[in-house]
Amino acid sequence: MRSASLLVAAALNIGMHARAAELPPPLPAEHMKVEALAAAGPHWVYVFDEAFFNETDARVHLFDGDTYRRLGQIDAGFTPGFNLSPDGKTTVVATTYFARGSRGTRTDVVEFTDNATLATTREIVLPPKRAMTLPTLFNVTYSDDGRLVYVAYVTPAASFGVLDPAAGTVLGEIDTAGCVMVIPSGPNRVSSLCESGRVLTVTLDAGGHESSRAMSEPFFDADKDPVFMQGVKIEGGFAFLSFLGEVHEVDFSGAAPAFSPAWSLVSATEKGHWRPGGSQVGAVHRGLHRMYVSMHVGGEGSHKDGGTEIWVFDMTTHRRLARWPVGTMGTMGNLGTVLAVQVSQDGAPILFAATDKSDVVVLDALTGRVRHIEKRLGQTPWMMLNP
């Protein structure tokens, strides 16, 4: 062995001299720098990882659905909420830190990250009341005009904080009488969902304080068929899907929320069997008026089960356009079940589907064709946002 190696080494040593003249010039020295982000693309998506098994270490991954590259990361602390500003230029994270990592003095804070640099540019310290819960669109949100930020509080008494992001200050706290979370509703209104199935809407004055409040009629029944807290952004407001597959579209653009008649994702024979489920059950392409829903077969209590199929609906006709079974997508084996869906808003849309295997599947949103599977985009990717 050793003598054979000697011979080979000697032969190659000679070869080295023979080849010396052919060698290209040496590679130049490199100069380390910090990578700059390109201009935001329509297929960029912010993938939230709760990091449930190491829950003080949640983060948001910025991922490119065209190049399949991770573009960067925004750290997010413990049980955070997060959202994007209306212009898409800022990520807002509402989170909690402990002075000794997992314990010690609690600091609740809202952090603002410049999406062009992924640097945190500002923080606003909150009272220690932030709703520590799974992410939805309504844990923390901007007002429609981007001038205020609202943060849901649960202590477990429910209220919310009103923040001025430009000034970096907390303007105040408004009690919501048991109704929860912050749904933006025009430039100066905040709506919350109530156990009664009603919507509480608080109107703010110029200083961010309450000027009036109003309670809507009930639009769902929390006993018979509760709606997911998650909400799906639609034109002018949000759609709330129910555990049994009813779609409640709510227009939040006016002075009071306006409810469209509910329509169903499921036929009479499917009802109670096929259900929406997961951690972000639906997404809407607002230009194409298409809704994508993660669907599974299950009973009561299965509302967090991942989808075995993605169903596609026309929001205008309420007709189902397609069923895309996850199990037979592509040729890459068992993809698991779908916990979260998001769709890009451009004319050649991409559907993102995060699975219970922690992968993010990239699909053509028009055909359902699988383009890519990004393996383990975090531990527990439970929500995805794009502007």
């Binding site: 997992s102 609690r106 109670g272 009561e300």
Partner: protein
Amino acid sequence: MRSLDQLFEHSSRALARRTSRRSLLAGLGQILTGSALLPLLPIDRAGRAQAAEPKPKSQTAGPESCEYWKYCAIDGFLCSCCGGTSASCPPGTTPSPITWIGTCQNPGDGRDYIVSYNDCCGKTSCGNCDCNRNEREKPMYRPSRNNDLNWCMANADSNYHCSVSVILGVSEK
């Protein structure tokens, strides 16, 4: 600790009393349409009425299994896999005085029990025996039935470690 325990006992038992009647009514209303019947279980569980394919349940699943009957609305880590038991917190953690409530049927006697789910707090995620069951679990606008909230929220150390299930009593019929 003692005062926290007393607070817990008081508040969640009171809540259980309020809750059990409503659950009972819901249960009675749905019993005759039940399709999710389990072997040897004389009554259907409320809310399971429209179940098409309920998850398999085992009468013999022990407290280190997510299938254990008391865990019917735990979404988190089982304290019994983290140094605690099904009803006790691991050493060095602190129970949450506030809680969510479930109603679970014990396959051993067929009874529905009101169960308090408490989080154990003050250490980082246990990370073992991840369990996600949501029978009769409701979204955050009904917090007493919601398991998405971190129920350590009101603890001095509000980090979430794991969850226990504590029998409060039989759901009154």
